[in-house]
Each structure stands twice: as C-alpha cells, then as structure tokens.
C-alpha cells in the first residue's frame, strides 16, 4: 500500500468516483481508527488496556453504512468521534438495563475498586454534561468530543475546527473543568 496517498486524498479521489481509492482507503481508515482508539484504551497509566479492534470495527461499520458525505478528513474524524461516543453511551444504557435485572453472579475479581468511584453510568453523565456544554459553548464542546472520543491530537482537532492548537488547548481546559464540575457535583 502506498503511504504517499493520504486518507484525505483518497477520500477526495473516492468522492470523484475512483473505486480503487476506496479499496486503498479502507485499510488506512481502519488503521487510523484503530490507533485513534488505541490511544485512550492503551493508556500508559494502565487500567484500560483492551485492544479496541472490535469497537473500531463497529464504528467503521456505522460510518460506512450511514452513507454520510466523506468530504474530507475533518468530516471523517468528526464522524468517527461522534460514532465512538454513541457506541459507548448506547452500551452503558444497555448494560444498566441488564444490571437492574439482577442475577446470581460470580465475582472472582476485585470488587473493591471503589476508591475511584467506578460506575459504568458515569459515561452517561459525561454524555449529558457534554450535550449541555455544547449548547453554551459549541466549539469547545466539539473540541472535547474530538479530543476525548475521537482521540485526535491538538493539531488535528484544530484542523477539524479551523482553529489554532493554542485555542484547542484553551477550549479543552475550559471544557474539562466544566465537565469535571458536572460529574463531581452530586
């Protein structure tokens, strides 16, 4: 696979009717998504080390079948981040539903992880908080979505939103402080 043809070029070429470009695009998109996702799963601090192959697979399926316009890289990433967020939230909802069912369980693991207050529903709170934040600060909210759910760098986030990396930095700082307050308030 020639690496000199960037995803963006391929996206454009594909939009222009070049079907081969799609064939070349798919593995690259896959790789891109994979490394994106890996970033927050393979966190250096340990704790989240699962390979997100399956997750990314699903994200890609949703992207491909949603027939969105793959105008450019920005769109691609924006959509990827949004899809990722939706997957996480949908799953947490389903899981909450199952959990309430209650069952005879085998708990062989440490169930004493309560120090950090881990509950699966936190993602739902985060989702609601982010929605709320997007209403009052759409750009910073979008930056947070791209950065946290899409795993983009400051530079990439800036490119998508057409702002400088320094502005991304400021947006994120504000966004996470707001989100933190929303999540820890109760």
């Amino acid at each position: 696979m020639s690496s000199d043809r960037s995803v963006t070029n391929l996206l454009q070429a594909w939009r222009g009717g070049d079907q081969e470009a799609l064939q070349e695009l798919l593995p690259q998109v896959y790789q891109e998504l994979r490394s994106l996702a890996t970033r927050y799963f393979r966190d250096e601090r340990a704790g989240h080390t699962l390979q997100p192959t399956a997750l990314v697979h699903e994200a890609f399926m949703r992207l491909a079948s949603a027939e969105v316009a793959w105008n450019d890289r920005a769109h691609f990433f924006a959509i990827a981040a949004r899809m990722m967020r939706r997957i996480l939230v949908d799953h947490a909802r389903e899981k909450g539903a199952v959990k309430r069912g209650g069952r005879w369980m085998q708990t062989t693991l440490d169930d004493g992880v309560s120090i950090a207050g881990e509950t699966p529903e936190e993602i739902l709170e985060l989702d609601r908080a982010l929605d709320k934040f997007m209403e009052i600060d759409p750009r910073a909210g979008k930056a947070a979505e791209l950065y946290y759910f899409g795993g983009l760098t400051y530079e990439e986030t800036g490119e998508v939103l057409a702002i400088s990396p320094a502005t991304v930095d400021r947006d994120l700082r504000v966004a996470r402080t707001w989100l933190r307050r929303e999540l820890t308030d109760e």
Partner: protein, 867 residues
C-alpha cells in the same frame, strides 16, 4: 446558576481563563474586580476554580472505562483459544470474567474465563503459567476451584480459565442464611482445609478475601483464583517496576502487613487473610476499616493498630458471648502483625477452630509469647524421644504383629508421630517461603516454584539436622516436586539424600522410607536408568510385602514399577506374572474398595492390557483394556480423563489387532473426553489427538490425519520446544503415515530428525532411538538404497542386541527381519544365505516371546517358508 446562557457563559469563561493564569494568591482580588456586583458570575467562576486541575484524568478515565466495557461485552460470542465467550459475569479493577464454554461438538463444558488487563507482560505471564501449570493442576481439592488453563487472547491479553462456580460470596451467604457462629466456623474450616492443601503443594494464594470465596447452592465453599496472584506479579515485573497495586486501583483491605511492606509472602500471609475473613464473617465488620475510608488509612491501620476484639464490635447480642474468649483469641492470633506469631499454617488455624467447636482448650492465648516458649520446650522434648520410638515401632511391627494389644499401642504411637510430623512439615514449609522471599533472591518481583524448592532443599539439611526422619520425608517430597518440574538432576539428588537418611536411621522400612525409594526409582526410570531403579524397587517390594491396609499401596506400586521395567526390557512373561498377582490383590478387600487404590484398580488392567498387546495376545489385551475402561468409568465417571487415557490405549490395541474402524471410534471418543476433561492446552489432549491421527492413517484418511498432526506439532512445540522426545515421536508417526502412502522420500528426513531428537533426549542406545533408526532403514529400503539400508540396519541390530539383555527382545526380531529382507532384495547368493539365518533367528525369538497370531511371528514364518 447551573444553566448559564451562551452569553453568560462567554463572560464566565473569560473571567475564569484570566484567573487561572494568575497565581492563586492574586485570584480573589482579580475576581472581585472582574465580577463587580455580578454575584452569579462570581459564584460560577469560583466553583470552576475550586475544582480546576490541569489534567485530563477524570474524562479520560470515564471514556476509557466505557470503551473497555464495550470491548469486553463485544467478546460475547467470540472465541478465546478454544473457548466461546457466553456472557460477562464479573468486572473489576483487574479485568473481566466471562462465562465461557469449550468448543466441542459432543461435549459442553462451562468455565469461568478471566481476562486480565493492566499492562501485564502477557508473554512472560504465559511462560510462567507454563512453568507452574503442573503445580496448579495438582490443586485437586473439593473446596478449590481448579485453574484449568491459561493463554492469551487474540489481542494479546493474558487469560485464565477456571472451573465455573455458581455461587454467592461467603459473607453474603452467611448473612442471608443467618448462619450461627458455630455454623460459620464449620463452613470456614473447609476453606482452611483447602488453603492448607494448597500450601502443601507449595502454593500460596496471596489474595484471599470474601469475593474469592463462593458458596454454592448446596452449601459448599469454593476458593477461587489460587495461584493467580503470583502469576500476575510475574507478568507485571518486566522492567516496569509495577506491583499489583500499581497496576490497578485495588483496596488493600485483605493485605497483610508484610505484603504492604513489600516483605516475603508466606503461608502465614494467607493465614492473616483468613483471619480477616473470619473476623468479617463473625462481626460483619472489617477489622481495620472502622471509620477510615481511604486506602492509605486502611494500610496504616493494618500496619499500626490492633483490631478490636470481634466480640466487642459484633452487634448481635446473641453472638457476642459465643465469640468472646476462645474465638476472639483465635481470630486475633491469625491477625498478628508478625507472621511468626500467627498460626504457622491454615491447618493449625483449622485445628484450633475444631478445638473451639469441641469445647477443648484452644492453642491461641492472649499472651502468645509465653505460650510459644512453652510449646517450644515441649516439642523438643518429644523430638528427643522420637528416634527411639521409630526403631521400637518397626521392631514391633515385624516381630509380633499379630498381638492385638501391641498393634493398638503401635497405632497410637504412629498417630502421635504422624501429628507431630505434620506440624513440623508445616513449620518447614512456612520457613521455605520465607527463605525464598523476594528480598533474598535475585528476581525481585516473584518467587518461582523452582526458587522455592531450591531454598527448601538448601535449608532442610541444616535446619532439621536433629530430625533426620522429618528431613528425609521433606527431601523426598521436594525431590518429587523437582520431578514434576522435569528437573531430574535435582530430583535425583534430593531423593538420594532422603533414601540415604532413612537408611542411616534405620527408617527405610517405614512407609515414608518406602515412598522415598519409589520416588527415587521413578526418577531413575524416567532417566532410563533401569538397572539402578530395579534393586530399589525390589527392596521396596520386599519391605512392603508385610504392609497392611492402605500402606499396601507401596507394595502394589513397587511391583508395578518393576513390571514396567520388565516390560521395557521385553521380559514379558515376568511382567505378566506381576500384573496377574496385582489383579488378584486388587480384587480383595479392603484394597478392592479403598480410595487409596482407586488409580491402581484401573491402571493395572490397563497396563497389563498394553503388555498383552506387545505379546500379541490381542483378544486378551482388548478384554483387559475394556475392563480398565469399565472400572474407571464406574469409579470416576465416563467423562473422566482416566477413561480417556484407557480409550486411547484400547484404540491402539484395536489398531494392532487390525480393527481399524473401531480404533478410530475409540480414538475419537478419547479425544473428546480429554478435550472436555482437561482443556485444550493440556498435553494429554495432544496425545489423544495424535492417537486419533495415527488411527486415521491406518484407515487411509491421510489428509485428516495430517491436519491433526499439524495441530499436535504446534502443541508439542509450545509445550516442550522443538527438541522434546514427544516431538520425536510425532515426527516418527507422521513419517510413518508418509511411508504408508508410499512416500519414503518425504518420510526419510523426518525419521532421521526423530532419531536425532531421541538420541539427544535419551542417548543413542535407547529403544526409541532404535525405533526411529529402524524406520530410517525401512525408508532407505523402500527408496531402493539397499547398501545404505543394510548398513544402518546392521548398526541398529547391534544396538538392539545390546539393549536386550538376553538378546531376545521382539525388537531384535524386527531388525533381523528387516535386515534379512534387505539382503534378499540385494539378491546375491551369500546374502540369501545370511538372510535365511536372520529369518530363522527372528522366528525363534517370536515363537518364544510372542503368541501365535502376532503379525511379527507370522511374518517371520512366511519369510522363512519363502526360502
């Protein structure tokens, strides 16, 4: 103002951003100026500043955990190794647990599969698991959930497979069932027994806590995760300097002071954790977690403060008086800060609890120092008199064993001896763990079984110099563990030392002495040093001929080992006689129904069946093997691995008798049983698979066979590496399949490799090496390279003559027949004459050693007639 408008937010944000650029001390003044009268603005900015921290931790964590949860749930329906994931059943800081089932057409086995996360080095973990798996497999106890398997997921995370236990946490169970104090103690003691069983296998749990103890619907407690904590530490050490607590946010609630301090983990560590669990069961409170909540505070309490007496904190007025006194003392003794002040073993904790239940005085005392000092003196006093007792007992046993009153007295003495030994063995095991502590060894993160054994081996001489009987018992056991780890040199060294000690104190004819002889002989047999093993076994057979009851097992074992040697040497008639005798012995009570002899009841007919096959008595062999299957099925259930092994053997016999279709049927059944009973990665499964492949070769299903061979090869390689003798056997059989398809050119290099592997493993003068070399000659013959074939066959014939003491092993006949055939094909007159001579000798051997219908015998006869 929790919902500012976008306009209000712009202001809030601007003030906030300016403020965080300032030093904290200047912010208040700045805010006062910037917000003026706008109190809502001020409040908003202040609340943001209050929680402002310039890091991403919280959001990253929430997203990360959610993503992980998705990934984990997506495993449902996927395969991990041979396991299909059915559903997630638990989640925690260390990873996820799934209900899974083994993929198999005929059977369904449900297991708990635990995927571990947290930056572990899965390759190292795998290696370590491999090293320790045999030891973990030895953990066969009704109150321990067995660790069945381990490996790594497709995305390279380590996983463990355990027996699936459907149950409820022990603390929840006790609460829901409203168990009384005594009922709780009874239940808890079963856990102590399980822990003690593991300690005797040199396995420390390290992570005992209520969440790891489940009670099944029928009230049986099961301890989970044995051996896992240590393996995890092994996987985490790779240059990252992380400990388990560093990898995952884990509460130290069940840690011992020595674990927190990073000191040696010993059997006493598990005793401490048991103490915490018992405390909680009795009081529904954690001994160190009173008002404090953070991990740090619990750690401090564990190190510094003494817990309140359980009876003082229990809320139930009914329980308090039952707990006060003895039970308080027992629990607090288990919770002593200093490991040496706790019970030295779980067995002693259990014994003290039993004394409590029976109303006897317990060993735990508020003032443990004085108590221990007193005990020390008492123990040594007993020690002095023991040597005399041993000698006297043996004398009594052999001279006047019929006198009933003496026998009664003897059993009393023995029981006492036994108890005392047990205690000393326990003390020694505890000391071994301490000796092999991370601080004293080079690799800081973990202790391997090997290091543990080395430490024990080193100390046993020195520390038990005054107790040679106990030292010898322990040395023999350590030797046995070395043997389990395939460290034969060390095994032999320790076992020899044990035997020498027993001889020196005149204790070789005690059951322990007999056991030491058998262990040593077993090691020597595996090293193919049969001549050295034989006299030891004869001695043991002699000693144990007077044993009664369960100790008669040493008689059976030594005799069967001798039969094994005779079988290897081709002394078939003598071996057969031993088996016949053993069958008779096993059919009489109490041996016929004692659990001690369970293994032998099916293995003797099975081994005898295989001997009969070698003698060409196929009908009898088949009948004998069916008998073995029937017995094993009755005693262990039709899905037990033993039944699988016997099915494998029956398949083999059927093959030799030419019943190939039936052979395939039994080989398939054997494989199915082993896969279900043992799990994919167990080597026995690979054996069964190889057997099925061999069977398929015979029915001409070569493609299917070769697929199986490839799998087997992969298993062997990962289990043993490239040069193990099992790989040799496999190559030999694969090549045999090729030879059967008339592809001698492809078969030849494989036979050669097999021969080279055998020569490496066993030496050039070994029967296996000779078999592979024989096949090399066959291939050369089939390729028409007659001169080369002749040369290699002659060399091999010489080896086989040397191997067979009497020169009459059937293998010698095989070589003679092949040599004769090669010579005849060369067609020279002199060769013809020599060939006939060889055929004649082969027939003579066959007539003596093999039954009439044996193919080898028939072949020799035919060849001779053809002349």
């Amino acid at each position: 103002m929790s919902n500012p408008s976008p306009e209000q937010w712009k202001k809030i944000r601007a003030v906030f951003e300016s403020a965080i650029e300032l030093p904290v001390s200047e912010r208040a003044a700045f805010l006062a100026g910037a917000c003026g009268d706008d109190r809502e603005l001020l409040a908003e900015v202040e609340s943001l500043l209050a929680i402002y921290k310039d890091d991403d931790d919280l959001v990253n964590r929430v997203v990360g955990e959610a993503a992980q949860s998705v990934t984990e749930s997506m495993r449902t329906g996927t395969m991990i190794g041979p396991y299909r994931i059915l559903e997630p059943i638990g989640e925690g800081g260390m990873g996820s647990v799934y209900l899974a089932e083994r993929q198999d057409e005929t059977f369904e086995m449900r297991v708990a599969l635990k995927v571990v996360r947290g930056g572990l080095d899965s390759r190292r973990l795998r290696e370590r698991f491999h090293e320790e798996r045999r030891i973990l497999a030895a953990l066969d106890h009704p109150n321990i959930a067995r660790v069945l398997d381990g490996g790594s997921t497709p995305d390279d995370l380590p996983y463990f497979v355990m027996e699936y236990v459907e149950g409820e946490r022990i603390d929840h169970y006790c609460e829901r069932q409203e168990l009384s104090v005594r009922e709780k103690v009874v239940l808890f003691r079963t856990i102590c027994d399980a822990v003690d069983h593991a300690h005797r296998q040199l396995i420390v749990h390290r992570d005992i806590k209520p969440a790891n103890i489940l009670v099944t619907r029928d009230g049986q407690a099961k301890l989970l995760d044995f051996g896992i904590a240590k393996l995890l530490e092994a996987g985490g050490g790779a240059g990252r300097g992380v400990t388990m607590t560093g990898m995952a946010p884990m509460t130290p609630d069940y840690a011992s002071p020595e674990q927190i301090r990073g000191e040696p983990v010993t059997t006493a560590t598990d005793v401490h954790a048991l103490g915490i669990v018992l405390y909680e069961l009795m009081t529904a409170r954690h001994p160190f977690r009173g008002e404090v909540t953070t991990a740090r505070e619990v750690e401090d309490a564990l190190l510094e403060s003494d817990p309140d007496s359980p009876s003082a904190v229990v809320s139930s007025r009914r329980s308090a008086p039952q707990i006060a006194g003895d039970l308080d003392n027992i629990i607090l003794k288990a919770l002593a800060k200093e490991p040496t002040r706790r019970y030295p073993s779980a067995a002693e904790l259990s014994a003290d609890l039993e004394r409590y239940l029976l109303g006897h005085p317990v060993a735990a005392r508020p003032s443990t120092f004085l108590y221990r000092a007193g005990k020390f003196v008492r123990r040594n006093a007993i020690g002095v008199s023991i040597a005399g007792l041993v000698a006297a007992t043996i004398l009594t046993a052999s001279v006047i064993s019929t006198a009933a009153y003496l026998r009664a007295e003897r059993s009393l003495v023995e029981a006492k001896l036994q108890r005392d030994r047990l205690e000393d063995v326990n003390d020694f095991l505890a000391a071994m763990f301490e000796a092999a502590s991370p601080k004293k060894t080079q690799s800081p993160e973990t202790i391997t079984a090997r290091e543990l054994l080395d430490a024990g081996a080193e100390r046993v001489e020195e520390e038990l110099a005054d107790r040679p009987d106990i030292a010898a018992t322990i040395q023999a056991e350590i030797g046995r563990r070395y043997f389990d780890l395939s460290l034969f040199d060390k095994a032999e060294e320790l076992q020899r030392a044990a035997v020498a000690k027993f001889r020196a104190i005149d204790g070789i004819s005690s059951p322990e002495g007999a056991k030491a002889l058998i262990y040593l002989a077993g090691t020597l047999i595996d090293l193919d040093r049969l001549d050295e093993a034989e006299p030891l076994l004869r001695e043991c057979a002699e000693i144990s001929s007077g044993y009664e009851g369960d100790q008669y097992v040493y008689q059976i074992e030594s005799s069967m080992r001798l039969a094994e040697i005779q079988k290897i040497r081709g002394e078939n008639a003598e071996a057969a006689e031993r088996y016949e005798k053993a069958l008779v012995a096993l059919s009489h009570e109490p041996v016929a129904s004692s659990p001690e002899f369970k293994t032998w009841r099916s293995s003797v007919p099975s081994d005898y069946g295989l001997l009969l096959e070698r003698m060409g008595r196929y009908e009898e062999a088949e009948a004998m093997m069916r008998r073995a299957i029937e017995i094993a099925t009755r005693e262990s259930g039709e899905e037990h691995s033993t039944v699988g092994s016997h099915c494998t053997s029956l398949a083999f016999i059927l093959g030799r008798a030419g019943k190939h279709e039936e052979r395939v049927r039994f080989a398939s059944r054997a494989l199915a049983i082993q896969e279900k009973a043992l799990g994919e990665d167990q080597i026995e499964v690979a054996f069964a698979r190889q057997n099925l492949a061999d069977a398929l070769v015979a029915t001409g299903e070569f493609d299917e066979a070769e697929d199986l061979y490839a799998k087997v090869h992969a298993s062997y390689k990962s289990a043993y590496g490239d040069r193990h003798h099992h790989v040799g056997t496999l190559l030999n059989n694969v090549a045999n399949s090729l030879l059967g398809r008339e592809k001698p050119g492809r078969a030849l290099p494989k036979f050669r490799e097999a021969a080279a592997i055998y020569a490496d493993a066993f030496g050039p003068d070994h029967q296996y090496t000779a078999i592979a070399n024989h096949n090399v000659s066959r291939s050369l013959h089939a390729l028409g390279k007659l001169a080369e074939a002749e040369e290699s066959c002659r060399a091999n014939l010489a080896t086989r003559r040397k191997l067979s003491r009497t020169g009459t092993h059937p293998d010698v006949a095989r070589s003679l027949i092949l040599l004769g055939t090669i010579l005849r094909d060369q067609g020279d007159e002199g060769d013809e004459v020599e060939a006939e001579k060889h055929f004649r000798e082969a027939l003579r051997i066959a007539e003596n050693e093999l039954s009439e219908g044996h193919p080898l015998r028939m072949q020799a006869a035919e060849l001779l007639q053809g002349h």
